[in-house]
Structure formats: structure tokens, C-alpha cells
Subunit: 689 residues, 2 copies
């Protein structure tokens, strides 16, 4: 029997657990009338956004599929795989989002019973996203495998599946990122220009869009991002199968193909067990709450390590590859912790930013930005060590397998991420609906925990994107025959002069690639500003034109839908330019400067992209929490000069940490996977320089 | 006769013109009593700083020289060259600084006669720095050449000269950068915590330190930075001489060695002519003033192109190399223009930042930072094109020669840079001494011009550092025998597997190298904060303890010297950690990870360093000028909410543009030249991974 069936079983079991969690969540009390009303407004907004986004996306997918089908060396199977990847990711995103927006109100209601009930509902709502992503991801890959693994161009088909997923991730991360921060910044700024409209006032028409944004950004965006990383890590590992046989790690191709799928399957089982390990007592202590989630993720990591050991023990000729998987797994866990250290107000870096806020906003910015840059150390070192170990034990194949290892526990780590916005929404709803103090204390505790998991989740996502992108670049080099593996397992360079580090095409490729991430960040950061501006104008218009709104008459509601609509349209319009650039740039570089320069280009982009992603993410996260630290009563507390300075830091950091930074993950992966997909075409171009 | 004598003649002529300019400046009227007093306080402060800096520096130089002499494969000649390089750079810096601080008051006095007199005095004061740097630089190189060019290890001796210069540049840029921004930010912040001490109030004890800072940062720091670039571009070109003969560009080594020296000599003559072309009428128009300086720099560029053509026509076998020189020359000019576009308030990017300031400091930061990231496009593209052209026409040698071409007009471009702080000081002195309105209008116009030239100068310095660093990396690869040039001129890789772009050591090297610039920036940015804090405390102490100071009694003066002293000590202490990291990191990478990884490390650092330097420099410059644009009466003018937001941007940008950004230039070059100097040792290490 083909071992690949085990992965199908894992996927089906995962879907089963998803169904159980969905049923569990939907059976919960929906809360009071106010809670239900607010929650359903958020639901409507989220569905309106995703509906429009998916419509636009579908058109783009179809157009690109037609183009792909027309490229002579690719063929229709690649088009189909591309569409299939996009559909799978869209399905997973839709499922996760629909459940998340139905969980927020129910979390409020459950929190009335107790902290543990609240945590369980919120976490299970988030776990739907986590387990759906891994289950659909692995089943999709298995379907492709069973359908076409005997085709001559199977290794050219699977990257198309990843590219489809990547395109969806681009829309979800960039579009979702612009939406969420446009709404957030807009609803925040409006108070500055129009007196009397605070950020979380129900009369502020942007308030629902802000809550919708948390879901489309952090649930849907993060989900699509990691769906992509997940399937692409498997794709890269499969593509590099010939390396595994050449270095004598496995006996044949089929074992090298099955290995990442089986490790992923083990990870699904481990994640399910991890999800059930998340529970907490009734004490309102962050450490207890954090401990509850940690138990889930670390338990799953440990189990995954054990499962991976078994897979490699039975499938491979020696245990070398196990060390590669372990390196990836550990690097992922530690990268999350490093992000937590640099962004949580429990630690010195963020507290220092809060302290610096006492001398004004200018120094807050300096300190926060310096903190962000300094925080690049641990992740880069961790990834470098993981690469060194993986290379040593498994050459190129080892690096890709390390990424698979890192991502194998995604079912539960993504659950903790997606839990964040659910808890955040629950907190917002509890405030808006005026629930009792003790309930709000509980939802606040859950929300605060969500911030920590969001931070670690982002660190993990960046690391996964980087390692994964590297795996794809290595695959690209192999498929374009820049590099081949000799019978003894040594790396052979086809044209050594052309592919040495200091040849002109490589240097120029690296420089041009390095340019992409900052440009991309600049574009997306500006997009947030444009969207926020439109929101400010709309809120002020409603304030002016809707009679009774300003006075706060009970029956008068602002037109929340209009703000959602503006954000949606603006996000989709603004993401156009950076998206086109991301898709087109590698193709142009490949066609004009050649396949060697393209390898340099991808690595250059990975280098600056990785650094910028960490810097922007951690600077933004630390500013946010420095503000919260001051609000918790330090350095003068809320309303002090230090607080004002910290608010400036928070505003500046918002698009960095929630739009530009996370979008870079997609950019790096998308450029790499597009190059890999087009490798059969690009391999013939050696370039003008 | 050896052609190298021409370069000595150029250097001597340059020194002659310097003497003429010094005499000219010193003969000018020193101005009123107030002007003389303030000017001499600045002089004293500057001399105190440089005295202490040079003492510390001398100890470091001697210690390192002893270590170098003890390394078996290097020898005493390398130690001597290292000391010689340091002494030359220190001499040039001292001469430039001494004259600059004597020119500021005289510029005030001359501006009383008219705009043209003011410009001439200020410019000639700055030109002393420019021409001293190139003259001493070229004479020093010539001395080394005549003394040792027949030694077997001549090519190992000359990088030591560059390393000596680089060490001085490190002290001048990093130490000077921390000094200047610590004083500036400190004197600015003190007004926020202690009511009644505005930034430019004579009762503010930090005010003189602030003015001293302009000189030690922008005159001495910029001078040492470009002295290093200047000599190292020649060093890299000479080191790559064997490439020039292999590709058939020149007949023998001596021609390949002479070529960069002769192009530099041509550049000195061109710069001298350019200096005399700077003059302006009496109309207070920025365009006329800018036109006057442009005439000087562009005239010199044109002449240099012509001289280079002649040199190559007579010295080389074909004109190929001329295109390399031209590519470098053009890239340098255009990079300056690009910086000007992104940072001057005459253009859209900066005006947009000013506009965004209307919605608060948070959005100002976002817009400015996005602008900085976007501004990486033109410089990177320009450098990429220059590299492509240079590689095509002259292989590695061409790239180094392009850097020489870019830097050949340094005599006049550095004159326009050093003019900036002189004019800035003159403006400050005119205000403090209460000179008549019309004089202050003139000094303001000169100051405003100085801001523009400072911006273009910084863009130029970054480009020069990047291209130059690349030349050194290529030299390193050749000397360590990673790469060699075949008899047909093709690049041959010694161990292709080890030096391919995607081998583990290279990837890990690139990642670790990429980490250096952000870490370095984080350290230096925090240093500014520490220094500023100390200054704030000292100014407040004096305010509290000196009787009559608070009341502004006429005969009571604050202890300016104490602030200078604090800044000096703090700067020298704070620069320790980043400096040690810069010197030690490449050595460790080379010894532990091997010579291949070190090549990747240097290129990785160059990649992120180049991007960060441009981003930080241009974001900071644009924030500064957005503030000035608002102060000029736009968006509510001085005191408006928009102005407050813009001030925050300016404060945040100060250490970015004047400390961290410019210091990156040195970091990139220093790491490269240290690697090149130690190449004879490092070539034996192939690394642990």
C-alpha cells in the first residue's frame, strides 16, 4: 500500500475534529441581544469583504490560469494545479473566517460562566482555522500526488499548487493588511480631527470595520500565509527528492516524496492532541493562561519530534534527516519566543521604550526602531544554525525538510494565532455591549493573551517564510539545472563561472532583489495611509449628515457597512501595484538578466525581506505593548505625556507590524514559487549581462 | 620617468591651493566681538573633541599595529602602512576641521558685505577639507608606491594603509555622529523637561556643543569617510591589476597600477578648477546659489571625464575602461541628485510628509519611513547599472576603476559638503550675536544651500562606500585565491562547489552579514539617546546651580565646555561596542566559517547596509526638511499641530541621518578592507561548515 494514504487519513481525521469543534462552538450560547447585534455586524462585514475579495481573486486566478496554460512548456495540468491550490486556500480561509466571526460573541457569553469556558470557546474557534489549513493542505497535496505522480512533469505541477495558494495569500495578507490597518488607523485618527469621536465609540462608523479587520487580517491573512508556507515546504522537499537519493539518505524517490507528507501527517495528529491539551483554571493570571497555550504547542512539538523520528527510522537509511527536522522544529519554537521577548511588556526592551516615551515621541520612535533592528539577531542566528545543521545532515533536501519540520505543528500554532483576534473581538464586544466588569476582566485577560500569541505567531510565520523561501530557491536552482547533485551526493555547478557569488549577474541580481522588500513595504505602508484617510472622511460625513448620530440617540446607528465597503474597495485597489510588482519582477529578471541572476535576485530579496520583516514586526509590536505598559499605570499612565508619545509609536508601528511586515512573508515565497513554477521556461535564459 | 610622479605633482598643486585658500580665509575680517567670542568657543570645543579623540585613537592604532606586526604572514611593513594611513587621515581631518571652525565667524562678517563674499569665504573654508583629503590621500599612496612597489607583498601592504584610514573614519563618523546628535537632541529635549530653555538660547549650555557637533560630524566625519573611500578605491583597483592585464585592457602591471592614480590626479586638477568656478551674484535665490555650486561640481565632473579619457587613451590598449570610469562618475552625480529629490522640500516626497503631518506624528513617521524605503530605488539601480557596465568593459578591475571614477571629483564634491556646516554655524552665530536682519537673511540662504549640498553629499558618500566596498570584496576574493583570472580573462573559481551562491557557507555568510548593519544601527541610535540624556541632565544642573543663569544676567555664561566634554566622553565610550563588533566580526567569520563564508558575509552586509544607509539617510533628511517646509509657512506654519508632528519626525530622523546611516558607510568599508588586509592569513581557512 502507498504510504501516502496515511497523510490522507490524517487530513480526514483533522477535518473530523474541525467538524467537532465547529459543532461545539455553534452550540454555545450566543449571548445577549447587544452582543448578537454587534457580532452579526462584524460577521456581515467580514463576509462582505471576503465575498468581494474572492470575486476579484477568482478573476485573477482564471486569467493567470489561461496564461499558464498557453505557455508552451507548462501545459494544462499546471493550470489545473494552480486553480486547485487557489481553491483549497480560499476554502480553508473561508471556513476559518466564518467560524472565527461566529466565535467572538459566543466567547463573550462563555466568559460570563468563567475564564476556562471563555478560553475553550475562543481557542476552539481559532483551532478551526488551524486544523482546516493543515487538513485541506495535506489532502490537496495527496490528491495531486495520486492523480499525477506518474506524470513526467509531476515536479513541475506541484509548484503550481503552491503558486495558487500563494496568490490567495497575497490577497489575504496584503489586502487584509491594508483593510485592517486602514480601518484601525482611520477610526483612531478621526478623533484627532473631529472632536468627540473616540476610537471605540459605537457612533464611530469605522468601529465595526476595525473589528472586521482583526478577523480578515489576523485570521484569514495569517491562515492563508501559513497555508502557503505549509504546502510549499512539502512541495520544496518533494522537488528536492533526487538530492535525498543522491546523498544516500533514502533508497528511492517514493520514500523521499512520502517523507514530508508523513511528517506533516504526524504533525496533524500531534496538533490535534495539542489542541485538547489547552485548558486553564479560573485564576486570572497571565502566566497560567500562557502556560495553557504553551502546553498545547510544546506538547505538539514534542509529539511531532517523536512521530518524525519514527517516520525517518522506518523510511530512511539512517537518522541523519531527523536532525534536519529537529533543527527546523526547534528554530520555529525559539523564534516565537524571541519575538515574545522583544515585544512583550514583560521584558526589558519594551519597558525601555515605555521609559523613553517620557522624553517625547521622537525618542520613542528611535528607541522602538532600534529595538526592532536589534531583534533581528536571534531569528537570523537561529535560521542560520538550522540551515547549517540541515545542510550538514541532508544537503538541499535537509533544508527543505527542516522547513517541513518547522511547519508540521502548524495545526496547533495557527490555532493559537487565530485565537488572538477572536479574543480581541470578544473584548471589544464586551465593552461595546456594556457587559459586567468581571466578564470584561476575563475577556481582557483573554485578549492580552491573544496579543502574546499573535506576536509569537508572527515570529514563527516570518521564520517559516524565510526557511521555506530558501527551500524553494534551492528547488529552483535544481530544476533550472544551475546546480545538480552528483552520484556521490556532492553539489555540482553547471557553469561555475556564472554561478559564483561574485559574478556580475549574481551581484546585480542580489542588489535588485534586495530592493524589492523595502519598495514593497513603502507601497503597502502608504496604502494604509490612503485607506485611513478615506475612512476619516466617511466617518466625518456620517457624523455631519446622519441626524441624531452626534447626539448619540439610541435608535440612530452609523452606517457601519459603508466603512467596511470603503476599506474593502480601497484595500483591493491599493494592493494592485505591489502585487503586480511581486509577480512580474522575478519573471522579468529571469527573462532579461537570466536564470543565474534570478537566483541572486531571490536570495537578495530573502536577505533584506527577512531583516525588514523582523524589524518592522517587532518594532511595531513593541510600540503597541509599550503603550499598553504605560496604560497599565507606569510612567504616568493613561493621558500622560509619556502615553501620548507612546500612542504615536503605536500609530507608526501599526502598518509596520500588521500590513507591511507580514506581507513580506508572502512576497518572498510568492517570488520564489513563481520562479520555481516557471523554471522549465526560465532555464533557457542565461541573460544579457 | 615613472608616470606615478604626475600624481605627486597633482597632490602638491592641491596642497598649494589649500595654502592659498587658508591664507585667503584667515585674512578675512573676524567680525564683531560677539561673533569672535562665539566662534572661538566653537573652536575650543572642536579642538577639545578632536584632541581627546585623536589621543584615544592613537592608542588603538598603536595596539593594533603591534598586533599586526606579530601576525606571521603580515610583517612590519603592513604595520607601518597601517600607521601611515591613520596618520594621513588624521592630518587631513585636523587641517579641515581647524580651518572650518575658523571660517564660520568670518563667513558672518563677509556676509555683511554681500552674499557672494559670504559664499566665497564659506566655500573656500570648506574647500580646504576637500582638497586636503585628496592631496594627502594621493601623496600618501604615492609614497607607499615609491617605497615598496617592488616588495613581493606590495599588494598586501596597501590595504593596511586603507585600514588605517578606515579606523580613523570609524572614530570620526561613529564618534562624531554620536557627539553631534547627542548634543543636538540633548539641547533640543531639555526645553521639553525644563521650561524656559529653548534649543538655541545662549543660556542653554549645550548650544556650543551642538555647533561643535556640526563640525566634528559633517566636516571631520564626512572628510574621514571620503578619505577612506578615496584611497580604498585606488587600493582596490591596484590590487586587481592582474585582472586588467589578463583581460588585455593594459599591457603590464605598472600601467594598471598607474591608471587609478592618474585618474585621481586628473580629478584633483579638475576639482581645483571646479572650486574656482563657484561664484554667485547678489540675488537671494536658492536656484542661483545652487547653480553656483553645481557649476563647480559638474564642471569638475566633465573635466575629469576628459582627463580620464586621455589617461586611458595613452595608457590602455583600448577605450573599454573609459566606459567603466564614466559609469562610476555618472552614477555618483546622479545618486546625489536622487538624494536631493527625496529629501529636498522643493519636491513632492518631502512635501507629502509635511502634508501628512496634519494628521499627527504617527502618520508623519509612516510617510517619512515609507519615503526613505522608496528612495532606495534610484541609488540601487544606478549602482547596479554602473556595476553591469564596469564588469562588461573591465571585469573586476572595471568595477574598482568605476569607484575611482566616482570618487575622482572628491576635491570639489567634498568642498560643497564641508561648506554646509560652515554655513550652518555662520547662521547660528549670526542669530546668537544678533546681527542685522539682512545679514541673517544672507546666512540663512547660505545655510539652506548647505542643507541641500549635505543631502547630495550623503547620497554620494553612500554610493561611493557601496561601490568601493564591492571593489574591496572582489580584491579579497582574488587575494584569497577563491577566484582567479585565466589567461583569457575569464573568471575561474578555485573550488566551484564551495563558492556557488547556494552553498551552505555562502548562504549562512550572507545571512550573518545581513545582520550586521541593523545591529550596528541599533547600537549607534541607542548611543545617541544615552548621550542626549547626559546632556539634558547637565544643562538642567547648570540651570539650577549657576546663579543668575536662569535670569539671563549679561555677564553670566553657562559652562559650555562641560557639555562638550560630556559629549566627547560619551561618544568615545559609546562607540566602543559597535567598533569592536565591526573589526572583530569579519575576523571571526573568516577564522571559524572560512574564507568562502566571509565573502558571503561581506556581500550580505553590503546588501542590507546599502539599503539601510539610504533608507535612514533619506527618511531623516526628508523629515528635517518637511519640518522646514512647514516652518516656511505651509500647513499652519510654526507652532501648528502639523509643525509639532513634523518636529517629532525630525527628532526621530536625526540619529538616523547623522549617526547610524553615515556610520554604515564606514562599517561596510572597514569590514571589507580588514578582510582584504588579513587575506594572506584568512586564505588558509576553509571553515567548519
Amino acid at each position: 500500500m502507498d504510504l501516502m494514504w496515511i497523510s490522507v487519513v490524517a487530513g480526514i481525521v483533522g477535518i473530523g475534529i474541525v467538524a467537532y469543534f465547529v459543532r461545539y462552538v455553534l452550540r454555545q450560547d450566543q449571548g445577549s441581544k447587544e452582543v448578537r447585534e454587534i457580532s452579526s455586524a462584524i460577521q456581515e462585514g467580514a463576509m462582505a469583504f471576503i465575498g468581494r475579495e474572492y470575486r476579484t481573486l477568482s478573476i485573477v486566478v482564471v486569467v493567470l490560469a489561461v496564461i499558464l496554460a498557453a505557455v508552451p512548456e507548462l501545459g494544462w495540468r499546471i493550470s489545473v494545479a494552480f486553480i486547485f491550490g487557489a481553491v483549497c486556500s480560499m476554502g480553508a480561509g473561508f471556513a476559518g473566517l466564518s467560524v472565527a466571526v461566529r466565535t467572538n460573541g459566543r466567547t463573550c457569553a462563555a466568559a460570563q460562566k468563567g475564564l476556562n469556558s471563555g478560553l475553550r470557546v475562543a481557542f476552539r474557534g481559532g483551532a478551526v482555522m488551524g486544523l482546516t489549513v493543515v487538513s485541506i493542505g495535506i489532502i490537496g497535496m495527496a490528491i495531486l500526488y495520486f492523480a499525477w505522480h506518474e506524470s513526467a512533469n509531476f515536479l513541475a505541477i506541484i509548484p503550481a499548487y503552491g503558486t495558487g495558494a500563494s496568490l490567495v495569500a497575497l490577497f489575504a495578507r496584503v489586502g487584509g493588511g491594508i483593510f485592517t490597518k486602514g480601518a484601525d488607523t482611520g477610526s483612531d485618527l478621526v478623533g484627532k480631527v473631529e472632536a468627540g469621536i473616540p476610537e471605540d465609540d459605537p457612533r464611530n462608523a469605522a468601529v465595526i470595520a476595525d473589528n472586521v479587520g482583526d478577523n480578515v487580517g489576523d485570521v484569514c491573512g495569517m491562515g492563508a500565509d501559513l497555508f502557503e508556507s505549509y504546502v510549499e515546504s512539502i512541495i520544496a522537499t518533494m522537488t528536492l527528492a533526487m538530492v535525498a537519493t543522491a546523498i544516500g539518505a533514502v533508497a528511492d524517490f517514493s520514500a523521499a516524496w512520502a517523507m514530508p507528507m508523513l511528517i506533516a501527517a504526524g504533525g496533524i495528529f500531534a496538533s490535534i492532541i495539542g489542541c485538547f491539551m489547552v485548558r486553564v483554571g479560573e485564576k486570572l493570571e497571565m502566566s497560567a493562561l500562557l502556560g495553557a497555550l504553551r502546553r498545547g504547542t510544546l506538547g505538539a512539538s514534542l509529539l511531532t519530534a517523536i512521530f518524525s523520528f519514527l517516520v525517518i527510522y522506518f523510511l530512511a537509511d539512517n537518522l541523519n534527516l531527523f536532525w534536519a527536522v529537529l533543527a527546523g522544529l526547534l528554530a520555529g519554537v525559539l523564534m516565537g519566543e524571541s519575538t515574545n521577548y522583544f515585544t512583550s511588556y514583560a521584558f526589558k526592551p519594551t519597558q525601555e521604550i515605555a521609559e523613553t516615551s517620557c522624553s517625547g515621541a521622537g525618542t520613542t520612535i528611535i528607541q522602538g526602531f532600534a529595538n526592532g533592528m536589534m531583534s533581528t539577531w536571534p531569528p537570523v542566528i537561529l535560521i542560520a544554525i538550522a540551515i547549517a545543521v540541515a545542510f550538514h545532515f541532508g544537503s538541499f533536501y535537509g533544508v527543505a525538510l527542516a522547513a517541513t519540520g518547522m511547519l508540521s505543528t502548524l495545526g496547533v500554532t495557527l490555532a493559537t494565532d487565530a485565537y488572538g483576534p477572536v479574543a480581541d473581538n470578544a473584548g471589544g464586544i464586551a465593552t461595546m455591549a456594556g457587559l459586567p466588569e468581571e466578564v470584561r476582566e476575563r475577556t481582557d485577560a483573554l485578549d492580552s493573551l491573544g496579543n502574546t500569541t499573535a506576536a509569537t505567531g508572527k515570529g514563527f510565520a516570518i521564520g517559516a517564510a524565510a526557511l521555506n523561501s530558501l527551500g524553494l530557491i534551492l528547488s529552483y536552482a535544481l530544476v533550472t539545472e544551475i546546480i545538480s547533485i552528483s552520484a556521490t551526493g556532492a553539489i555540482v555547478v553547471a557553469q561555475p563561472g556564472e554561478f559564483n557569488l561574485l559574478s556580475a549577474p549574481i551581484i546585480i541580481g542580489i542588489l535588485l532583489g534586495a530592493l524589492m522588500p523595502p519598495t514593497f513595504c513603502a507601497m503597502t505602508m502608504k496604502s494604509v495611509g490612503v485607506t485611513a484617510k478615506a475612512i476619516v472622511e466617511e466617518v466625518r460625513r456620517q457624523w455631519r449628515e446622519i441626524p441624531g448620530l452626534r447626539e448619540g440617540k439610541k435608535e440612530v446607528k452609523p452606517d457601519y457597512g459603508k466603512c467596511v465597503d470603503i476599506c474593502t474597495k480601497s484595500a483591493l485597489k491599493q494592493m494592485l501595484a505591489p502585487s503586480i510588482m511581486t509577480i512580474v519582477a522575478p519573471v522579468i529578471v529571469g527573462l532579461v538578466l537570466g536564470k543565474f541572476a534570478l537566483a541572486g535576485f531571490l536570495l537578495g530579496a530573502l536577505t533584506t525581506g527577512f531583516i525588514f520583516a523582523i524589524t518592522l514586526n517587532n518594532a511595531g509590536g513593541a510600540w503597541d505593548n509599550a503603550k499598553k505598559w504605560i496604560e497599565a499605570g507606569h510612567f504616568g499612565g493613561k493621558g500622560s505625556e509619556a502615553h501620548k508619545a507612546a500612542v504615536t509609536g503605536d500609530t507608526a508601528g501599526d502598518p509596520m507590524k500588521d500590513t507591511s511586515g507580514p506581507s513580506l512573508n508572502i512576497m518572498l515565497k510568492l517570488m520564489s514559487v513563481v520562479s520555481l513554477m516557471l523554471a522549465p521556461v526560465l532555464m533557457h535564459f542565461t541573460g544579457l549581462i
